[in-house]
Symmetry: C2
Subunit: 382 residues, 2 copies
């Protein structure tokens, strides 16, 4: 019934051994679409579209000079209530790092080439190029060839999550983890920061290491402060990195994500709405806000839901496209087109608007929002 032509890399017995997943299971996963054959940028690999066994979604098994496993970045779970959760989850101390609003990138060296993977295990040509421009990684990887640098690509010239940070500006990379290729074992907090400093590589900000008992109160203050400065939130870690990290975000972050999602309601809102709203509920509860603070939070939430919708409806009525313009730096048309091809691989509909002063403007189209808003404006029934 099913054809037997599975990709050559997957057919190698070694792969099954390295991953500790039976050949039969791997083959099954292949036919189910859990793992895919990936051939891009002179690289042959198996991409994990979903988790399988102990392999995280985003894991890449690369067929280089040797077979190498670049593990997916583990999903960081969220706390809705700091106080009970930190007490339950951590042992003595909690290290608090800033969670920045950008996109998750793993940088590693494969056969003397530096490659940047985005969350799902795609090689982003722009990210790979920029990582090499921004960072001087040769020494680091010479000394640590088995290491994966995990960090956030942030800034405004950012095709995925454009956010302005004063200290970053156009584009920057901040590192939160150093992990071992095959095992995904992270370095402890201090070793990581020491090693990064030694190589002049920039970590995310460490906002403090607190005893578990004091941590919730401190973190609430930190997160309020971050929110007031339009920053996202925190990741809380065991300093020894032996426990799963947790994340927690500011009300402003929730609001701005709602705002973004509701700008393209029929493309993004359904996936975003519920969880952001739940976060707000528990945060407001834990922060024990005054009537006035609550009312401000309610208004912020309502506005971040209502106003972007109105803006989009108005735009579509005026003949505009429900779309967002991404700006990236390019040296030539080729680089822009390469990136657009990459977006299309991700099923993102995008077109090149213009190239000017070394910057390409790429339009990401939210088609469902366009079609549905237009339909309702023309009398379509809901």
């Amino acid at each position: 019934m099913r054809e037997k032509n599975i990709p050559p890399l997957l057919a190698q017995e070694e792969v099954s051994k390295i991953l500790n997943i039976s050949s039969q299971k791997l083959e099954e996963a292949y036919w189910k679409g859990i793992i895919k054959n990936y051939q891009k940028h002179n690289l042959e690999a198996i991409q994990f579209r979903k988790g399988l066994g102990s392999m995280e979604s985003g894991t890449m098994v690369v067929n280089g000079e040797t077979i190498q496993v670049i593990r997916g970045f583990p999903k960081i779970r969220r706390t809705l209530m700091l106080k009970p959760t930190l007490k339950k989850h951590f042992l003595k101390e909690v290290a608090v790092e800033e969670k920045m609003n950008g996109y998750n990138v793993r940088i590693t060296q494969i056969d003397n080439d530096i490659i940047a993977f985005t969350r799902g295990g795609y090689i982003c040509p722009y990210t790979t190029r920029k990582a090499k421009e921004i960072l001087d990684l040769d020494d680091f990887f010479q000394e640590n060839p088995e290491m994966v640098i995990c960090g956030e690509m942030v800034g405004t010239l950012n095709p995925y999550v454009s956010h302005y940070y004063r200290e970053v500006g156009k584009l920057g990379f901040r590192i939160f983890d150093l992990r071992e290729k095959q095992t995904n074992t992270p370095l402890p907090m201090k070793e990581k920061r020491d090693l990064l400093e030694e190589h002049d590589l920039e970590p995310v900000r460490l906002l403090g290491i607190f005893p578990v008992d004091e941590a919730p109160e401190k973190i609430i203050e930190i997160v309020k402060d971050l929110g007031a400065n339009n920053r996202e939130g925190v990741v809380m870690k065991d300093p020894m990195m032996q426990l799963e990290p947790l994340k927690y975000t500011s009300s402003q972050a929730q609001a701005s994500e709602l705002e973004y999602a509701l700008s393209y309601p029929f493309d993004l809102a359904q996936a975003f709405l519920f969880s952001r709203i739940i976060r707000e509920g528990f945060q407001a509860y834990e922060m024990a806000e005054s009537t006035d603070e609550l009312s401000k939070r309610a208004l912020r939430m309502g506005e971040s839901i209502l106003y972007p919708m109105l803006e989009t409806i108005r735009g579509v009525e005026n003949g505009e496209l429900a779309a967002e313009d991404l700006v990236i730096e390019v040296k030539n048309q080729n680089e822009a087109e390469e990136f657009i091809r990459h977006l299309r691989d991700l099923k993102v509909m995008a077109t090149l608007v213009e190239i000017k002063d070394g910057k390409a403007v790429i339009r990401r189209i939210h088609q469902s929002t366009n079609d549905k808003v237009k339909n309702y404006l023309h009398g379509g029934l809901y």
Copy 2:
């Protein structure tokens, strides 16, 4: 493979003929759970859990002295934008009836017995009993045995949607359609109202019949006014009832539905959120509100999302159950228990709290909200 013991009623060739659906298709639908065997209250019937062919969801094929088809009440679609939609949809005139906030009931006579079906085709024992108490239907059904009375059960002693209407109080029934059993053909607006008047039966309020061109403006005023009085909205109909009716609701109705849903966020919110928010977006756009009006709408929306969540979290923290108390009138314990059994048939978890002064308090428990809120309060991860 599949067993052949389909229910006897379904096996009758006559059923297939009456419904104009082949025996094979009916049988398939039975195995898929689209239609079910229904035996309650001395009635044997086939219940349509979903639509099939031209039969609406909620249709009941009843095995009485003859086989009778009580068609499901047709889903009324919604307009998000009155102006373009009414123009596109209606011909000359639009009749505007009030949409009341209660639950949809079809009352009909089967073998000299009066029976009330709720939306899904269930026989609600409370509704059936109350319909007979509230309404004097004998004459009507003597003269119109082939008619189905479609209306809204409203008021506070209402186990499904308790809402206070000054003119109703505890419990009342307002009729919006008279339809023919087998064909579901509705009477035209005027004939319907004349026939109801003749029999002293109360219709929903007719708020006006407008030329299509003027209708949107009039309806916006009407709906604003209804909203300000905490009333739900309107149903717009072709006076001849030859076109599909449409519905449109007030911002206050959206807010109060959000409020209800967010009181039990892990049971109800996901299904409610998106559509209510979309309605608010288009309504705010069409009503071309001032900055001040928009801000009020945003605050109303934010408050109706945030505050009920807080209330529920607080309650669960204090050891309360996330539950709502329904109050119905009963003559004895038996009637209360019968109604609870009915709720359990609907997969609603409910317990009897007390019976006092002829009223039964029935607690409907929202289990997921209880469990999840408790879990997060005790440090569970999201």
